[in-house]
């Protein structure tokens, strides 16, 4: 006999449903490209791919529904506070980068995340930030000659 199925992860059923809805939307969009007007039109292969997504999405949803219900909550197990904070910080970082430029936004981001995850003396965090950012800057800007984003707000300064 098959081994007993592992319990569902918190939120797995919702995720499976989202996956299926996304797949159906993707199929509908693919159909919109050129419909069933020909066998070699631009829309055929996207329809095949999204068709596979719809089929496998149905299977994923059914097998998730069959598993015994999950124990534990969605937030503590899948998206606990550190994840939410980190995702929030990354969002802020990517949003600020075009404004403040690479150096300033990265310095802020590194300092905040180090402080949040590492929980050491702020001066130590500051020193670590400077060290890490300095090495990244020297390696990529000076050695690899990579163009780094320059902020629109602080243009010319950094």
């Amino acid at each position: 006999m098959q081994p007993a199925p592992s319990p569902r992860r918190p939120g797995e059923l919702v995720f499976a449903a989202i996956v299926l809805v996304f797949a159906v939307c993707a199929f509908w969009q693919s159909y919109g490209i050129s419909g069933f007007s020909g066998k070699t039109t631009a829309g055929v292969f996207p329809m095949l791919a999204s068709g596979v997504m719809v089929l496998s999405g149905v299977v994923i949803l059914i097998s998730a529904a069959r598993k015994p219900a999950s124990s534990g909550g969605f937030w503590p197990q899948i998206l606990p506070l550190p994840h939410l904070v980190l995702i929030g910080l990354v969002c802020a970082y990517t949003a600020l980068m075009p404004l403040l430029g690479f150096l300033v936004s990265s310095a802020l981001f590194l300092f905040c995340t180090f402080q949040f995850l590492w929980r050491k003396n702020p001066f130590l965090t500051l020193a670590l930030t400077a060290l890490v950012l300095g090495s990244v800057y020297v390696l990529f800007r000076q050695v690899f000659q990579v163009v780094l984003p320059e902020g629109t707000l602080l243009q010319g300064l950094f």
């Binding site: 070699t40 631009a42 997504m53 089929l55 994923i60 899948i78 995702i87 990354v90 690479f102």
Partner: protein
């Protein structure tokens, strides 16, 4: 032949290229060893920095990182019982018990030497068989490429993921991401929603870095506070008698590794596990039981995963189909440099092929040097806390994504793929098929359409062509077998067989 040797030697003659290969190998060992950093992550970030470089320089660096990274995972597996990479899971099973007995130095020395042996076998296979396969690959038609693409994506999806449906979904999602933008044949917009920025498609480097870098960092956040255990290291150079004793075992594992690596879609991870399993079954009367620090079991996965590197290059350089996730990224790098991996690569640009063979060989030699030295500093560096590592991964991911087109929008893509990839990983979806899909999707699309046109737009003709030509027939049978073995029909068929015999 002499010409080939000349091209092979390019990598060996230029001090700058030698330096890059060495630097790549050394960096790769650390990247592979630090849990949370993966070779795939490093190569995908690297190609965005090196796309302006000369092709040879970029390839030399990537060859080093690839070799060093695949090997590096074994060190943390032995010293800390944390496989630095999935391909070192089996290594940890045997290596860590050896370290607990105080034999960490011996274990590292032996795995280094055997990894290098494995690496050479893989490279030898690449040098010998790739030109043959390439001659043969010219006979491949559009439909065969379509079949190979589907097989490659499904193989990754089925062998590494939680379920076949999730693997298929991930692969199809990748194909769909690859479709976004203007259709290369008719210039019609696909999924562009009327915006200009989507017409150029979704940058696949952003997808790679998002899925392999940001998503992985978020997953690693769950294990932020895993403590590291310190180790003492003494003699590293393995005894000659040991090398002799385990040589044939390593050769056998290398053979397995090369073949598994050469199958489209399967790489070092699967090769290592299969070789370990094979060593376990073929070793009669082991001196030390498996799971308690058996040396046969220690060297088999390491020889195999390094042999798989050469193996994985074979389908990439002859068919344009990546052998594993890292070669999928390298194919992306070759495209960026304007090269077209496929059956004509060896014919049209033999210098490139032999250069790759040359720099892989060189990287393998550097691996021997760096593998047997510098272990004391090494243990210090890998104990770097994840709290410091994870923010750094995100900054590097952002730099890497931006560098490719200098477009801030790419960073938002990276972030989106990172968050989506995190949820996919958490719910048991593999992200490697997505990347394979993104890379192979456009190729499969155009080959499907070419095959359909040559079948005069007739589905019957199209399907008949799939079984009426020997190459297509073999591929079709392989695909059908793969599909059938994953459906509920298969257990039923297997149950029917014994009843027939009765």
């Amino acid at each position: 032949m002499l010409e080939a040797l000349g091209y092979f030697a390019i990598a060996w003659g230029d001090p700058w290229l030698i330096f890059l290969t060495a630097a790549g190998t050394l960096a790769g060992i650390y990247v592979g060893a630090i849990p949370g950093l993966s070779v795939t992550m490093a190569t995908s970030i690297l190609i965005s920095f090196t796309f302006k470089w000369d092709v040879n320089e970029a390839l030399a660096l990537i060859a080093g990182v690839y070799f060093g990274g695949v090997y590096g995972g074994s060190r943390t597996a032995i010293l800390l019982n944390i496989p630095g990479a999935p391909s070192a899971i089996a290594t940890a099973i045997e290596g860590y018990p050896m370290a607990k007995r105080g034999e960490a130095g011996e274990a590292i020395g032996l795995t280094t030497v055997m990894s290098v042996f494995g690496g050479f076998i893989g490279i030898l296979a690449l040098a010998l068989f790739a030109p043959l396969i390439s001659d043969f690959a010219i006979l491949f038609q559009s439909r065969d490429y379509l079949l190979l693409g589907v097989i490659g994506i499904l193989l990754v999806g089925t062998l590494s993921g939680e379920s076949f449906a999730k693997g298929a979904f991930a692969g199809a999602l990748g194909v769909l991401i690859g479709m976004v933008g203007l259709d290369p044949m008719t210039a019609e917009g696909r999924f562009t929603f009327g915006t200009i920025s989507l017409m150029g498609g979704i940058p696949y480097v952003a997808a790679m870095i998002g899925f392999f870098g940001v998503a992985e960092a978020l997953v690693q956040l769950h294990t932020l506070n895993t403590p590291a255990i310190k180790q003492k290291i003494d003699k590293i150079i393995p005894k000659l008698s040991d090398v002799k004793q385990y040589f044939w075992g390593a050769m056998r594992a290398s053979g397995i590794g090369t073949i598994i690596g050469a199958l489209p879609g399967t790489g070092g991870d699967i090769a290592a596990l299969l070789a370990y399993d094979d060593a376990k079954r073929s070793t009669k009367n082991p001196e030390i039981p498996f799971g308690q620090g058996n040396k046969e079991g220690l060297i088999a996965p390491e020889a195999a995963n390094n042999a798989a590197i050469g193996g994985a290059h074979i389908p990439m350089l002859t068919l344009g189909i990546p052998g594993d996730a890292v070669t999928a990224v390298i194919i992306g790098a070759l495209f960026i440099h304007g090269l077209k991996p496929g059956p004509l690569l060896i014919v049209e640009t033999p210098h490139l092929f032999w250069f790759i063979v040359g720099s892989l060989t060189l990287a393998n030699i550097f691996l021997l040097v760096f593998g047997l030295t510098g272990i004391r500093i090494f243990t210090k560096i890998v104990e770097c806390p994840k709290a410091v590592l994870l923010p750094l991964i995100i900054v590097l991911s952002a730099v890497g994504t931006y560098a490719i087109q200098n477009n801030p929008i790419d960073i938002y893509w990276m972030l989106l793929f990172g968050v989506v990839g995190y949820f996919m990983k958490i719910y048991g979806f593999e992200v490697a098929p997505v990347i394979l899909g993104v890379i192979l999707g456009p190729m499969m699309d155009s080959n499907y359409r070419r095959a359909m046109i040559s079948a005069r737009q007739d589905v019957g003709n199209f399907l008949w062509a799939m079984v009426s030509n020997p190459i297509s027939l073999v591929l079709t049978v392989a695909l059908v077998l793969m599909l059938v073995s994953q459906t509920p029909l298969w257990p039923k068929l297997r149950r029917m067989r014994p009843t027939k015999k009765q």
